[in-house]
Amino acid sequence: MQNWLEFQAVVMAAGKGSRIPEMTATKPKCLLPVGNKPMIYYPLKLLENAGFRDTKIIVADNYANWGTADSLRHISDYILTDVIILSCDLITDVDLHQVLNIYRNNNASLVSLYFSPSQDEQCVFTVPGLKSKNKFEKDIIGYDSKTSRLLLMASASDYEETMPISSSLLNKCSNLKLCSKLLDSHMYIMKRWLVNYLVKDVNISTLKGELLPFVVKKQLSKHCKNIEPNEKCIEDEEDEKPDIFNISKESDIETKIRSMSCFGNTTNFEEMIKCYACVIDSNIGIRANTLYDYCRVNKIIHQLNIPLGEEKDKVSPEAEILSNQFDKETCLLA
């Protein structure tokens, strides 16, 4: 086993499951059973498979309505290295190393993992509950199709009919891929300085909703000293806004490494903030945060390449099978 001093892992398990209130009334979301295991088993297993020895799990407490960024800010004193953030409802068999390598190769500030929409959409099934519940929230993700650099994050509800794309974005990237069907895994790898930034900027309360779009957007703006002051708190802003660039200063050793190496793209030389998207096709990845996905994941969990325990565990010895239509391949029984 490796000793992972490079990354620390944080599992966000404080979610209330507000999208499936019927099921989470009595039980925290992270303990909902999926394939006879609590949901949080899967992200922990993923980390364990990748060689992590310890992780931090954030669970719900009495604090009212903390966002993911608030939670991260709360434990920022314990975070010493770059950090991997997972959500407790992430169920996937992706190889974590693949994502980590993207992070390392690009010296990225932030890597976000996306799953391309599953091809087996034909396994349509009826979802218990009301029809109207099964609605997708459309996120629009824009990334460079060659370098997979993440350059645009937006929600479809931000726009009415047209979607403006700024020229600075187009100049930066001549081959931009815009997707609306990618599934955001809510798994992020980020540099330590982003946590520092979070500590400074108390206005950001969620990672996906606020921090990420902000950081992604900041990639495009030039590093200049004063950025438009907001009406709200001019003094605060002036302390803060430059921070994202000041905080992101490289350490001396990195600057030296860069100045001495002849490898690498000179156009990226000046850039402090580099966000990348990791889009994975082959593996199965699901976030069980809606009723639809919860049902789906229960249906296909046996196909996943995740060890669910011994064969004898699949069908518990105490269970009595009376039906003759029980399919041992696809069913799990406690």
Binding site: A156, T162, M163, P164, I165, L170, N171, S174, K225
Partner: protein, 644 residues
């Protein structure tokens, strides 16, 4: 029935448009026979025909204007590739545009099948047959409405912003064209496009001017008589997709071929370089003609007389039967057949056509010299000079950025000598085309020859650099303002006029702010400017600004618009010396009139700029800034009113 048809139609047709309808290459070649202009000592049209021949096309229809038909026929017969082609010529006198050509084709009923449509200026090597096959299967199985596959080339240089000047949105899975925009700058995509499917926004694509069309294309042109160019067609189809029931697809050539289009001098340079660097193999000089290749992409023809001490640098072509004198240095240059170059001559980055004589001690850099010209002793021809055929340059002449003709046919040219007339672009009020004619790229940035014949001479210099619609909007605003000032039109009416122009040319708010301020600062014509000294200039400008105060109020309201206003002032001051001297006064005046907020001035001042000019302007404004800051401390409460 359709399968039957396909079997019958195995013969593939191509239509070559060998008439360019533009004068980009004038005077080195005229519009009618520009496709016979030599590129690496071989007519452009020969490259096109060779490409068709090697990709397995048999039937070729060549469209040419009737004036140049004979010359083109003669030239085609000499082309090696044309021997196996079945060439049919069609001519017309009435065609004035690409759209007219297709309407002509429709009326002639020459098209029986899916066909490849291209201009006679395409150089390259493309596997066309597989593309046509794919297009056919697409039409049979996938999308019956598919009428055209546009072939794009990915520009190799990611920074070649000047090359790729269009934004194209493609569906990621099918390659269908969803959105096309010529203008640079930001775009606004319809949201449904993004939600429906994954799309690629491409800005790295260059037109190859090769398209694969179905038989439905000529009738579409005939039905829509306002389609003049291919861009009109693309735009029209995308807007009226449901009505016309036609869809467009794109194919991006990336690694499986090369195609370059030669439509102006920068592209001529680019394609020449690519031919010399052998991207177009097998269409390279030593394969298609009698050249021998030496190290460093030097191609040497037959029967040369080179002095021992003459030097040939990289990327050079020397046509056969040429003579070079001693101590002559030549690099990055294409020299035609039968040229005579004297002693101590330097030629760099230039294109010398056939039969040219260059006498001793002359220097030619970044220029084009037409057929049978003569350049006498000690002349300097540099920075994108274009010399037509048969020009004689007298000794000790120094030419820069000029177009030289051998005879004065229009009486509008300046006489340099008996056989050299400089074409004066500014006096050319006859030609109504607003397009930029670009010369050779001779520095890092592109220099554009200004042939923009707008109503004011003094505005033309800046107008050439901005896109068409904006340029038109700007000149309309100038007209409105001049008339308004002279006739004392009420400012509300002026605002109405400007707004209607804004809608007419589809200019966004910020662009409009910028252009209105620019127009306001450039109302004086050149002649007036010369008569004015600095003080009088400023008083006049001030009176004008005061007059237009309501207009300014209307446009400059927010901090964003203040920013536009300041950048417009800076932009104009860069080009105009008089304004430059009073720029701080102007800003101060606008501040006093409550147009510019203090905050925006401060921000403008603090913005870091790279150019020398911007720095000096900001230095000049230092005093004003200090004063502003002092005033702020004294009267804090008043500021809120100003900056609202």
């Amino acid at each position: 029935m359709s399968t039957n048809k396909v079997q019958k139609q195995d013969v593939l047709q191509a239509v070559v448009v060998a008439s360019f309808f533009h004068k980009n290459f004038w005077p080195a070649a005229d519009g009618d026979s520009a496709c016979l202009m030599p590129l690496v000592n071989r007519p452009l049209l020969h490259y096109t025909l060779d490409m068709l021949e090697s990709s397995g096309i048999v039937d070729v229809v060549v469209f040419c204007s009737s004036g140049s038909a004979d010359r083109i026929k003669d030239s085609v017969q000499l082309a090696s590739g044309a021997r196996r082609l079945n060439v049919v010529y069609t001519t017309s006198d009435t065609c004035r545009s690409f759209g007219d050509v297709l309407r002509h084709l429709d009326s002639c009923a020459l098209i029986r099948n899916d066909f490849v449509l291209l201009w006679g200026n395409v150089v390259g090597q493309l596997p066309l047959l597989p593309l046509v096959k794919r297009f056919k299967t697409l039409r049979q199985s996938g999308d019956r409405g598919a009428v055209m596959t546009i072939i794009y080339q990915r520009s190799g240089d990611p920074n070649a912003a000047s090359v790729a000047d269009q934004t194209i949105v493609l569906a990621a899975d099918t390659g269908r064209v969803l959105f096309h925009n010529r203008a640079r700058g930001k775009i606004s995509l319809p949201l449904e496009l993004v939600l429906d499917s994954t799309v690629d926004i491409r800005r790295d694509l260059v037109d190859t001017n090769v398209v694969i069309c179905s038989t439905a294309v000529p009738p579409l042109f005939a039905d829509n008589f306002d389609f003049q160019t291919k861009d009109d067609f693309v735009k029209g189809l995308l807007i009226n997709e449901e009505i016309l029931n036609s869809t467009l697809y794109a194919h991006v050539v990336d690694g499986d071929g090369y195609a370059g289009e030669v439509f102006d001098w920068p592209s001529y340079q680019r394609v020449t370089r690519d031919v010399l660097h052998r991207w177009t193999y097998p269409q390279v000089p030593e394969v298609v003609d009698k050249y021998s290749l030496r190290y460093g992409n030097v191609y040497i023809g037959e029967n040369l007389k080179l002095a021992l001490t003459c030097y040939l640098g990289n990327d050079t072509v020397v046509g056969s039967d040429s003579k070079f004198g001693s101590s002559t240095r030549i690099s990055n240059t294409v020299i035609g057949k039968n040229c005579t170059i004297g002693n101590n001559v330097t030629i760099e980055n230039s294109y010398i056509f056939n039969g040219v004589t260059v006498k001793d001690r002359s220097v030619i850099k970044f220029s084009v010299v037409g057929d049978n010209s003569m350049i006498k002793e000690n002349s300097h021809i540099t920075d994108s000079c274009i010399l037509g055929g048969g020009v004689v340059i007298e000794p000790n002449t120094d030419l820069k950025q000029l177009r030289i003709l051998s005879s004065d046919s229009t009486n509008k040219s300046k006489k340099l000598s008996a056989k050299a007339y400089a074409y004066n672009a500014e006096d050319d009020s006859d030609s109504e085309d607003d397009e930029d004619v670009r010369g050779l790229t001779f520095r890092k940035r592109t220099w554009s020859v200004n042939s923009c014949s707008s109503s004011d001479d003094d505005t033309a210099s800046v107008a050439a650099s901005i896109p068409d619609d904006t340029c038109m909007f700007y000149s309309e605003v100038v007209d409105s303002l001049i008339r308004g000032f002279e006739d004392h039109v009420h400012c509300d009416n002026l605002i109405l006029e400007i707004n209607s122009s804004r809608y007419a040319y589809n200019i966004n708010y910020r662009e409009a702010n910028f252009q209105v301020i620019r127009a306001m600062l450039t109302l004086n014509s050149k002649a007036e400017l010369e008569a004015l000294n600095q003080v009088r200039y400023y008083t006049q400008l001030q009176s004008k600004l005061d007059y237009f105060l309501p207009v300014l109020r209307n446009y400059i309201k927010t901090t964003d618009s203040c920013e536009d206003c300041l950048s417009a002032i800076e932009d104009i001051a860069k080009g105009e010396e008089l304004l430059n001297t009073v720029i701080v006064k102007v800003i101060h005046h606008l501040y006093n009139m409550n147009i510019l907020s203090e905050e925006s001035i401060l921000r403008w001042h603090e913005k870091e700029e790279d150019t020398q000019f911007a720095k000096t302007v900001r230095e000049k404004a230092n005093k004003l800034i200090e004063w502003l800051k002092d005033a702020e401390e004294e009267t804090d409460s008043d500021d809120d009113d100003d900056s609202s």
